[in-house]
Symmetry: C2
Subunit: 224 residues, 2 copies
DNA sequence: ACAAAAGTGTTCTAAGTACACCCATGA
DNA sequence: TCATGGGTGTACTTAGAACACTTTTGT
């Protein structure tokens, strides 16, 4: 690699996180309003440019903290975005991260050094975002569907566990499908993703519901 | 993004392709021997630095062509590697691509501008590679297992189709498991990945075998 | 006792597992 | 006609889909 070849110059990496929550059956994504150019005044996903002294996932977490105040969020890489003009300043490659957060348990900063607003926005109410963030969001939504079927990604929404009926709402809102109560229960239970806690949760005038929680380690079953 | 912030300087992107083949039941990976520093004389996966005027996948394909002569290969992104000192020159992030090639149908250049040798190496005979390429290879092998179970990635090995017994060898060598002949057949057929071509292939002294081929479009079935 | 929502059960069908048997070929 | 390896079939078990019924609670 000839370091001085102009074809290698002026490149950088964006770390962009798509942070979802589920608010009363509505899937929402965390957006921030930019205070700087480019795209000043636009809403965008949470992220920024990677430092050259940090790993990608750490950069993503740093950006999340800087621009929203949120710490200790579990995120995972899901795609890469590299359209040549996706950023006007430098040639920037974006590494996309995805995470799920309980919106009740975090206090999102409305204003930071580089943002003037922040909000959880229902995914079908999202307008035109900065950069290629609409494309990143679409890709993240696909990945989210995959992850709730095959991982414990929703466990952050239910640190104390959940009842089957209440988590069914979450599945239905992400997957945009309705499921039979009884079959959903059976399927989720022998999916191997969750375990019974032997506790129950009482609702007024209703039969108490069993509380389940996600396993920490998910062993993914292979087709072959 | 303050473009002149030193934390953003000297970054680049590697596009690294892990190209597999299956040679008589042995899974092999295409390695090239470097003629330049860093890691001069080391074997490595196929790749190099991304240009700032090309998309990531196009850069990966350009590098494959430059360093092996292979064109028209199907590759897909599978992971990102970002250890801080993975490259000694600049801070380089690696985007990993994976592909499967029929080693009989390509003519791999033994020597190019930047390589002095190239070879298909059995995956359990691979030594210490340049950069973090051993780690990338491990990750690619995991992805390969996933892909042969859920996609038509092996179709490039069998452009004219394949018989069930011969492709079973391929599955067994990648997944490192043995399968019952009869059950493997049933499972692969109603996996939805392949279709019958109504042709047969004759072997000496044996019953002719039906030829199947992979579907072009795989509709992946969701758990929920 | 009643409504509301939780939990359990049944039947049918489709797919996975572990087997044994038959078929087409060339020597 | 025989060995070789390919193709088909059966019994058992397990999981998904479409259903109806019972249980616990507060009013």
């Amino acid at each position: 690699m000839e370091v001085n070849n102009p074809l290698y110059k002026n490149q950088g990496i964006h770390v962009i996180s798509t942070l979802f929550t589920i608010d009363n059956g509505v899937v929402k994504v965390l957006l921030i309003k930019r205070d700087n150019n480019p795209f000043k005044g636009y809403w965008s996903l949470v992220g920024g440019a990677l430092y050259n002294n940090e790993e990608v996932i750490d950069g993503a977490k740093r950006e999340i903290k800087e621009k929203t105040g949120i710490e200790n969020v579990d995120i995972q890489m899901f795609n890469v975005f590299s359209k040549i003009n996706r950023s006007p300043l430098l040639r920037m490659i974006a590494i996309g991260y995805i995470g799920v957060i309980d919106f009740n348990k975090v206090n999102v900063l409305k204003k930071t050094m580089k943002t003037v607003d922040a909000d959880w926005v229902a995914i079908d109410k999202v307008g035109t975002l900065a950069y290629d963030h609409n494309e990143i969001l679409e890709s993240a939504l696909e990945k989210l569907k995959d992850l709730i079927c095959n991982s414990n990604i929703l466990s952050s929404l239910y640190p104390k566990g959940f009842t089957i009926p209440e988590i069914q709402m979450a599945y239905e809102s992400v997957l945009k499908k309705k499921y039979d109560r009884r079959n959903f229960r059976k399927k989720l239970i022998n999916s191997g993703l969750i375990v019974d806690t032997n506790k129950t949760k009482k609702f007024e005038g209703k039969k108490p519901a069993k509380i389940y929680k996600f396993k920490n380690k998910i062993t993914n079953k292979n087709v072959f």
